[in-house]
């Protein structure tokens, strides 16, 4: 069955040709002919654009407020088993599984021979499977959200206590002084944590499989991931593991790569220091 792309191309080329032939044979004023020619040539350009942009034609037709909506769905959801993500493209179901490759070696610790050996082993990984797969190295911010949130809660708590002590006239001045010191301590701690970003590096492999159902696609993807995992593990002499849940989110979602509280604290401090 011809695809939408081919149908649109044939239709546009056909319409363009028909308009052009009819216009050039009709006995009408030249300026009207030119208008029709311009329309025919515009449709011809549309025909060419179907090569790359056929997916845009229907959303473009439905466009509102100068916004083309290609999809209003979440880009993926995590499979019930937790070890793959599911994406739907039309009637196709894609399941993608992720394998973590823990490499703790550093080139600075290797001699020339070891460097060559390591590069050779990596080259072997690149050609380990016949089906396409993706090898990724990701540098991300270490998630300090929980820690920052705990410090923030503690800071709010001591600030509240300090304000309360300040407002009560009968409170011992030494207690107020101690609470003030506590506020300063938590404040300094929050500031020092938020000021520096801590990075980490993660290597992983991604493999995708299609199926008619979610379960079938997930089973195929995890099977392929297992094969890759064993191949890579044996080649590099390491223990590879399938990624699950939050680990998958870390490599697929921007707000997990740059955690919200970790970065918002840094932005807040930057804004304060710039006097904004």
């Amino acid at each position: 069955m011809p695809s939408l792309k081919s149908l649109l191309f044939v239709a546009f080329v056909g319409i363009s040709l028909v308009i052009m032939i009819i216009t050039s044979t009709l006995q009408i004023p030249s300026y009207i002919k030119i208008i029709f020619l311009a329309i025919a040539l515009f449709i011809d350009i549309l025909a060419m654009s179907t090569r790359f942009y056929s997916y845009l034609f229907i959303p473009l037709y439905k466009m509102k407020d100068k916004t083309i909506v290609l999809s209003n769905e979440e880009p993926f959801y995590i499979a019930p088993s937790g070890n793959a993500i599911i994406t739907r493209e039309g009637s196709d179901v894609y399941a993608t599984a992720f394998v973590k490759i823990p490499i703790y070696k550093s080139a600075t610790e290797m001699n020339e021979e070891e460097k060559i050996d390591f590069a050779r082993l990596f080259s072997r990984i690149v050609s380990i499977s016949k089906t396409p797969y993706k090898i990724t190295t990701q540098m991300y911010l270490i998630n300090k959200d929980d820690y920052i949130n705990k410090i923030r809660d503690k800071l709010n708590e001591v600030e509240e206590r300090y304000q309360k002590s300040m407002s009560e006239k009968e409170t011992n001045p030494s207690i107020v002084e101690r609470e003030k010191g506590e506020v300063t301590m938590w404040h300094n701690l929050l500031e020092s944590i938020g000021r520096i970003q801590s990075h980490a590096l993660l290597n992983y492999v991604t493999v995708t499989a299609t199926g008619s159902t979610e379960e079938e696609a997930t089973a195929l993807a995890t099977q392929q991931a297992d094969e890759l995992s064993s191949g890579i593990g044996a080649t590099l002499g390491i223990t590879t593991t399938m990624m699950t849940g939050e680990e998958i989110l870390l490599v697929t979602q921007a707000d997990y790569t740059i955690p919200f509280s970790t970065v918002s604290e840094e932005i807040r401090q930057k804004t304060v220091s710039e006097g904004l």
């Binding site: 052009m20 030249s30 350009i45 060419m48 083309i68 894609y94 050609s127 797969y133």
Partner: protein
């Protein structure tokens, strides 16, 4: 030129050529008809070879944004994907990292392969040490069919040898051109020899992704541009051909974050892959 390109360029170009052929029917405005047809031919060529230039121009002029998925947005300049999470904006951008230049322009086959292999991990670590923001280096790889790949290489080698002999027999042969042909032939020859030694041919697509955060769409997008410029500088040491991805391919790479093509044909249909 592949089959699909021939069909698309052939048919659409033919329509514009027919318009030129029948220009006389437009009387006094025949010159206008010819100009319109030539402009159409130019636009068709741009769409085919450099749509990444034309598409952002159209979206900027018309002020069109694209929503590839829930909570994501591609701004009108088509150079990043923005996600809004609780009032913070995350901008994601991509760079191609093809090594075409490395193979065809800068690779010197006389340098021992050992040296190149040894310098790889060290260069990579230096890059990682110099980058102070999140980024990802992706390498999509797939196995090629050995026999077809070998035939393809032999065909390329034959064509280059023909060009070389033509240049050598020319009235005034250019030494630089001869050297270039010889270098390319050597590269292909070394690949054929590697195949003979049992190495499996692979195709690959490489790209770099970076994420920046900001309190507004513009702040995130500007921070991303800054990061991408830095990445372009640091990755220069790897001798990669690096270009920022804009337009249609941005959406394709965004989708690659969630699933990759499951067949070689599908992958080859989306990008010019390196073999």
């Amino acid at each position: 030129m592949d089959e699909e390109t021939i069909i698309y360029l052939g048919f659409t170009g033919l329509v514009a050529l027919i318009a030129i052929f029948f220009a006389a029917n437009y009387g006094a405005l025949s010159i206008v008809a010819i100009i319109l047809s030539i402009v159409t031919l130019i636009i068709i060529a741009i769409i085919n070879y450099a749509d990444f230039i034309l598409f952002p121009i159209v979206t900027i002029v018309l002020g069109i944004k694209t929503v590839p998925a829930k909570n994501y947005m591609i701004p009108k300049n088509q150079n990043c994907i923005i996600k809004n999470v609780n009032g913070l904006y995350y901008a994601t951008g991509y760079l191609t990292a093809n090594v075409y230049n490395y193979v065809f322009a800068a690779e010197r086959v006389d340098i021992s392969e050992e040296q190149k292999l040894a310098s790889g991990p060290e260069k990579w670590e230096r890059i990682v040490m110099n980058v102070k923001f999140p980024f990802k280096f992706h390498l999509i790889t797939y196995a090629n069919e050995i026999q077809a790949y070998r035939e393809d290489l032999e065909g390329k080698r034959g064509f280059l040898e023909f060009q070389l002999s033509k240049e050598m027999q020319a009235a005034s042969p250019n030494q630089l051109t001869i050297d270039d042909f010889q270098r390319r032939i050597n590269v292909i020859q070394s690949r054929i020899e590697r195949l003979s030694s049992g190495e499996r041919p692979v195709g690959s697509v490489m790209y770099i992704e970076s994420i920046a955060v900001g309190v507004s769409e513009k702040a995130a997008s500007d921070a991303l541009t800054n990061q991408i410029n830095q990445l372009q500088t640091v990755f220069n040491s790897m001798d990669l051909s690096i270009n920022r991805v804009v337009g249609r391919e941005l959406n394709i790479l965004f989708r690659f974050g969630y699933f990759i093509p499951t067949s070689t044909a599908e992958l080859e249909g989306l990008f010019n892959v390196q073999k």
